[in-house]
Amino acid sequence: MTNSILPALIFMIGGFMIPFFRGRAKSIYMMLIPVVGFINLINIPMGDHFLMNFSDFKLVLLHIDRLSLLFGYIYHIIALITVIYILNFKNDVEYVAGFFYAGAALGAVYAGDLFSFFIFWEMLTIGSVMLIWARKTKSAQASGLRYLLVHAFGGLVLLAGIVLHFTETGSLEMLKLTLSGPGSYLIFVGIGINCAWPVLHPWLTDAYPEATIGGTVFLSAFTTKTAVYALARLFPGTEALIWIGVAMAAFPIFYAVIENDLRRVLAYSLINQVGFMVVGIGIGTELSINGACAHAFNDILFKGLLFMSMGAVLYRTGKINATDLGGLYKSMPWTALFCCVGAASISAFPLFSGFVSKSMVMEAAASGSHLAGQKSYVVVWLVLLFASAGVFHHAGIKIPFFAFFGHDAGHRVKEAPLNMLIAMGIAAFLCIFIGTYPKPLYNLLPFAVDYHPYTISHVLSQTELLFFSALAFTLLLLSGIYPAEIRALNVDADWIYRKTGKALYRIFDAVLNPLNAWCERIVRGVAGSTADFFKDAGAKISLFVAVNIWLLAGYRDKHLEIKKQKLYNDILQGTLPAGIGAAVTITFILLIYVLI
């Protein structure tokens, strides 16, 4: 393989060159990067490329198989869409960070060994933090720093896991691991932090809504999906993942119902969707892994689309809280339409993309529950069904309703810029295309697909589920029971480190600072008095000696006072006659000698 390039490098190096272009050439150049990357990618044959021997380690920088190809394709597609979306921002930091970040995700997906995987995994953190900080608000800086700390910790856990795993097995290959021994557990948890597992998740809901408008679209695509990829690669069929995924699918929907910031609502629903993928990987059958991967593919598109539509709203109105929005369909009809397509896709309406992928995971859970020893999968199925109804409720209805319909907040703004509309249009088209014609997507999946989403029972049952969820929303809203959006903050698991962090700071402040001050007082006191003493110690000792001599010699009163004053001044100012000076010095040394 001499004439192909590492996909990650095209994005990273290509990204660093962006600031050298100007005007229209810059826009064309940026759109060309993912296109060139894609052409490069489809010309690389399956297998391992870019092998490097690094003392004992065998590094594989480019491992191409069906699983890594699927993620590579969608990363290129979403990179192109997002680049079109951010063309009007004219922010080089965002451009370079975005490409660096996307390149890191590609590098991690194609890494054929754990070490190069780790390197790209860390680059992912750097790129994403830059996208958060590029917003330049105070809250973005703070949450970016928290994001960095959490991911730096996660990276260390992963690194420790890889090192332990290497010492245990002597292998760095990206192959299926079983949970045994500390190495594999640490790798598992390290990936889990990026995958936003419950309790490890608040970095996501904290930081994503704080990033730049385009940054959030980038972020929604890469970090969690790369973690999903890593789980599918390293831990397929690990039963713990089923229950982790079930928790992920269930708990965020409650938060999403009461959250005011609409981009944060989407962040919660992102965790909910990733939950479906994690369940699919945990079940570990061909159908469920296919379902997880297909759903990751679709989620990148419809979640990107939803974040783009909310970004357009934020861009035009400057507002993102549900309390400040409403009635925008009047001034942003296209954005509203695209948002509804994204909402229908994430809710898995028939003919939209979620329908053809989410149900694969559900089906795998249901058929698994009939096998011996897997009775508990019934619970998995029921919770996932609950989560399916819930996701329609908060992402499918709440997002479009509060932003574009509902109470008219009086914003009279322009429609989103053309490039944003084109980007949303492409994503919306793909959502409907995959939903109506899933065959091309199914052909890309890791295993051969024998699944037909469009059966009468599936269409009917899913439509029933969604329409009656909508009925519940409508009736609750009309009766006034539906919780009004409130300007408030909802504490989540990040309370643990945000408040205890502050408490620790206060404790340290209360204990260590007084201790410090106290020590300083002692040191200053001792040093000060010592200095005072030694300032004229020589003069005082000489006086002590001289006065006794003078008393014996018969000097008294005024005469004695004058003599004392003269001697004291002479010693301090060094104006003593040389002989006397020498005598005093010798006396002083002798005195010390005697004392010692």
Partner: protein, 90 residues
């Protein structure tokens, strides 16, 4: 005078609601037909669980799930987690 939009007219909102409520009823009727036809083996029923064959199972589940979701969020979760917007800055 600002242009009148679709939902500025309350009659249109009413029309939309009417369409929606009737489609909900139609779905339940379709479900009954579907169960009938699959019992008579006219169409093949693909079901994993017994309860899926009950009339309106998914309708009931979807409705109840969302009511529970909203009530739990409003009356249990929100009182537990709601804080002032500057809670973390204090």
């Amino acid at each position: 005078m600002e242009k009148k939009h679709v939902f500025d007219d309350p009659r249109n909102v009413k029309r939309l609601l009417t369409v929606f409520f009737s489609s909900v009823v139609i779905l339940l009727i379709l479900d009954a037909f579907y169960i009938l036809l699959s019992r008579m083996n006219v169409i093949h029923s693909h079901m994993n669980y017994q309860w899926e064959e009950f009339w309106g199972f998914y309708a009931f589940f979807g409705f109840v799930a969302c009511v529970i979701l909203v009530l739990v969020s409003k009356y249990i979760l929100r009182p537990l987690v709601k804080r002032e917007e500057n809670y973390y800055d204090k």
